[in-house]
Symmetry: C2
Subunit: 592 residues, 2 copies
């Protein structure tokens, strides 16, 4: 078990090392026996080097090498030689050389792994997660972890250079049940009391601004006890940023600087700045999403102005109830069969639509003509305006959805994505598209609980000009909030905060949070504001999602070392798990 | 509330800015009214700039400035001028200039803080913690947070440069009740099950080595639910490091590189490497501590060989029971009064000693003479040898303690520290002293539970030559474990790990952990080892303590942004706190 320090890694040797005595350590990756000679590809994190056991070169090592099997851990000494003409491997960086072994030490044996350590395998994810230590040996996952490593370093270097201070905020904090569900931690020393894990360090970063830290950042774990959707994790990583004495533009500038670096260093692309911006209203009307994918342009159109005099009941209801009529042109889809159209109708119904109006655009002698069961309700003027507004051509297909504004636009947005898939508009090599979405509504009305919720969070500042509307028409108040969207994924979101305790109190009032409740939950923050809070704002990046996109993966689990399943289980170590009764007793709790 | 972007920070303006129009933001630090002119020291994180409101320069601003009080947040525009001759302030970096204000915006008002924002105040720590946002405005705490920030960046840059991969390990993990108490997190989706917060990412970092990551590091939060001692926190920060294919020497080399950088960048000192080493046994015999403070030399001596033929019952018992007789020379203390000696006797009794032997060294005509009530038990030869061994001189005082080895040495170590304090040997400007303590015992016997515990943790490798002793004489087995000690504080500890599942099983056996229990708790790690684990080892730094020492502070609370009290309470936000019954119901738990 004694072994010497390695002279090189398995990714390091080149032709200029020929003739050198070297020591390598690594895992047996592939083994070939050829004419009494044993060839082994030795693997470590840095690469693969072929090592050769030849009986005439060293009898003892050759003899011992017969026992070697996949994933054995070995240490070898040997001499670097040029590979014989014709046996070079251009796919390996070390492919011009191999190492003739004259000493072998088996550091550890290995039983046969449950799946081969290769990228081109189709193993059930549950098995991969159970044997995560083997899965992580795969080159792709190693590459992802290294990419993530680089993204950490680039991020911190950037913020450090720009005078931001990295501050660690507590993981054991106070439960503030606004937002998602907290994970709780029972206190042993204080019976019946609990800590909560942070959903974000929101209050702490604002406190740091009150403390005069001026510019704060942290790459930090956050926690949400949600009913897990397929690609969520109960713990996730955030790049958390806060700045004092700033407006939206200052935040944008800092973030754009970071994105420029990421584009350059990770993708070797020049990001053009400023990043384009869309208001929430525009984004919804054009793309039916507050995180539109702009890698293809397929745009929806607000058709309300075309049908403002319509007698068609469906449209009239929509207009009268402050709703929307939204049109989408599907170029060249005029020949869709009735069956295909039924499938799409079911598709939108699945999202809650009552129906889908479809219209075929045809060429007739007198010009373009619209064909659809709905056409009888349209005036000629409306038809002509529709064609013009959507810039429709013969052979195209028009979809129209109408009803409640946000709901209809969301469904139209889903239809837009579906048509993009059918039309194959999202090319894998498409240029990545970043955009800012701005001017979000400050409040969202919840029908179930009959109250307003903060769309971003309760510390978000309204636009100053909208403050008077807070009491009279909360749903019309716009927030100084913004999201950064990359290829249809929200990768960051933030806002300018309320820094004034009166405005904060007003905010809580609209949210139906009583003064007493506010005092209990956020009293320390509101108190802090009394001692001289600077104007401030910030942003938080979803680091896992960002890493996923930069790595070109489709699941965040592929950029997290030890992810949990959709139901929050770690299959590797079987957590969560039952614990000793004595542990619970000490914590003054019992299971119901 | 609209304000312009600042042109400079409050620490930036110099003589070469004279005549410029500038915009500054900040807090009102000090205010002086002098002959109708208002002078304000405006403060931000970057420094202090004096701003001047003069009625003849700008009447309106001067008028508005009358309202300004301490800690108001303001934005000003003005012109930089050279301060009038004789009014320069050499204590400020901006002290050659001030700014004549022609526009003032009050961004936020402030009520009077409960204590002044100054370093030279003596405020009760509880009040400081409650108003942490104000406490953090003090220059000293801001300096500490900035130092901590720099230490983060230096650390990561160093490990990045040395090919370490930063990997985030889970915070929600499996409870493994070996070591300290876990903090538990009830699972909502899996009734009756719990996650635990990591006491350290120990198993994960070993898993990463099995995965072939080769070199891992992370600055990571860890959690221990201990009965809190004065300077412990329930959550603390660790620099966590693990390396494959290494022995102790490789770990030392990497760590010494980091320490060189810290010494240079934080203290501007050249650290000489290699860092000196002491075995655990030596450290205990010489200094009565496994984390000796070497800034002063006062050394204890093992006197067993001098008294191997003694008839003095106290010493004979110690020798016969494998104990120790330990001597300490207190130079120049021969004139201590009987009362002083009684106080010291009480001091060692407080640590559990039965008594303290003290001996005055005096000059007589025939040479040195020892004076003590115990002298009647010493032979002349023993006396002469004692004088020689301790290199005693006239006027010195000799202390002797004896009994159970570890216990006696610990008490003698406390006496050593006490004498160092009395003799004023620890100078505030003493050169910092680093050392490695090596060869720790692998096991500690616990009298109460009548079993062995792992002194480091159950994954620590024994010295290979000691493996046979594991079954026959566990207490004699030395571990491949090491601590890094700075000025008498353990700042890092680590070990070479067991990488072989057979040896691991043997380890669990000595620890009295049944196969079944081991399988439940650590099964995934032991399984991982079957698939080809490399030899590996690592170390973890207590980052808070390290930052405390580099900052020259005496409490880790002064280098943590939001610390908790000794009983785990955050006085700022009053956590832990009671939570809604509905929350507990969802988590399937109730308070007993």
């Amino acid at each position: 078990m004694h072994f010497k320090r390695r002279t090189h890694t398995c990714g390091e040797l080149r032709e200029n090392n020929i003739g050198e005595n070297v020591i390598l350590h690594g895992w047996v990756d592939k083994r070939r026996d050829l004419g009494g000679v044993i060839f082994i590809e030795l693997r470590d994190r840095y690469g693969i080097t072929q090592i050769v056991f030849e009986p005439t070169f060293n009898k003892e090592s050759h003899h011992e090498a017969k026992d070697l099997r996949s994933e054995f851990v070995i240490s070898i000494e040997g001499v670097v030689r040029k590979r014989p003409e014709g046996t070079e491997n251009p796919e390996l960086e070390t492919g011009q050389i191999d190492v003739m072994v004259n000493k072998l030490i088996i550091l550890n044996e290995a039983v046969t792994p449950p799946f081969p350590i290769r990228d081109d395998i189709d193993t059930h994810e549950d098995l991969r997660l159970k044997y995560r230590y083997l899965d992580l040996r795969r080159p792709k996952l190693q590459k992802n972890l290294l990419l993530r490593h680089r993204m950490y370093q680039l991020t911190r270097k950037y913020f450090d250079k720009n005078n931001f201070v990295e501050v660690e905020t507590p993981v054991l904090m106070k439960s503030t049940p606004e937002g998602a569900r907290d994970f709780l931690v029972p206190s042993r020393l204080h019976k019946g009391k609990f800590y909560a894990l942070p959903q974000s360090p929101q209050t702490y970063k604002q406190i740091l601004m009150v403390s005069g830290l001026d510019r704060y950042f942290q790459i930090v774990k956050c926690f949400r006890d949600e009913d897990l959707r397929a690609d969520r994790q109960p713990e996730f990583t955030q790049i958390d940023v806060e700045m004092s004495f700033v407006d939206q533009e200052d935040i944008f500038q800092i973030v754009e600087g970071l994105m420029k670096i990421m584009f350059k260093e990770i993708w070797n692309k020049e990001l053009q700045t400023p990043i384009p911006r869309l208001s929430f209203d525009e984004a919804m009307e054009k793309y039916g999403s507050d995180k539109p994918d702009l890698r293809f342009d397929l745009e929806m159109k607000n058709l309300n102005h075309i049908f403002h005099k319509t007698e068609f009941r469906v449209f009239k209801d929509a207009i009268d109830s402050d709703g929307i009529i939204s049109g989408l042109l599907a170029p060249g889809c005029g020949e869709y069969t009735r069956n295909q159209l039924d499938v799409l109708t079911d598709f939108v119904k699945g999202f809650g639509a009552k129906g889908l109006i479809w219209i075929r655009v045809k060429q007739s002698d007198s010009g373009l003509e619209l064909e659809s069961p709905t056409m009888k309700f349209f005036t000629d003027e409306e038809k002509q305006n529709l064609i013009k507004e959507l810039n429709a051509k013969a052979g195209d297909l028009i979809f129209i959805l109408s009803g409640n504004r946000i709901k209809t636009l969301n469904i139209a947005g889903q239809l837009r994505l579906e048509m993009a898939r059918r039309l194959d508009l999202i090319k894998p090599d498409a240029e990545p598209k970043l955009l800012w979405v701005t001017d979000f509504p400050l409040f969202e009305w919840d029908e179930e609980t009959k109250r307003y919720y903060a769309m971003h969070h309760p510390f978000t500042s309204p636009r100053l000009e909208d403050i008077p509307l807070m009491e009279t028409a909360p749903s019309k108040v716009k927030a100084r909030a913004y999201d950064l969207v990359l290829n249809g994924n929200e990768i960051a979101g933030g806002s300018i905060r309320i820094h004034n305790s009166e405005l904060q109190a007003k905010m809580f009032k609209v949210l139906g949070i009583s003064e007493e409740e506010a005092q209990t939950k956020f009293g320390f923050l509101m108190n802090a504001f009394k001692y001289g809070a600077p104007p401030h704002g910030g942003i938080a990046f979803g680091f896992d999602r960002m890493a996923m996109i930069f790595a070109g993966e489709n699941s965040i689990r592929d950029v997290i070392a030890f992810p949990k399943t959709a139901s929050g289980i770690s299959l590797m170590d079987d957590s969560p798990s039952f614990v000793d009764e004595a542990q619970l007793r000490e914590l003054h709790i019992k299971v119901r």
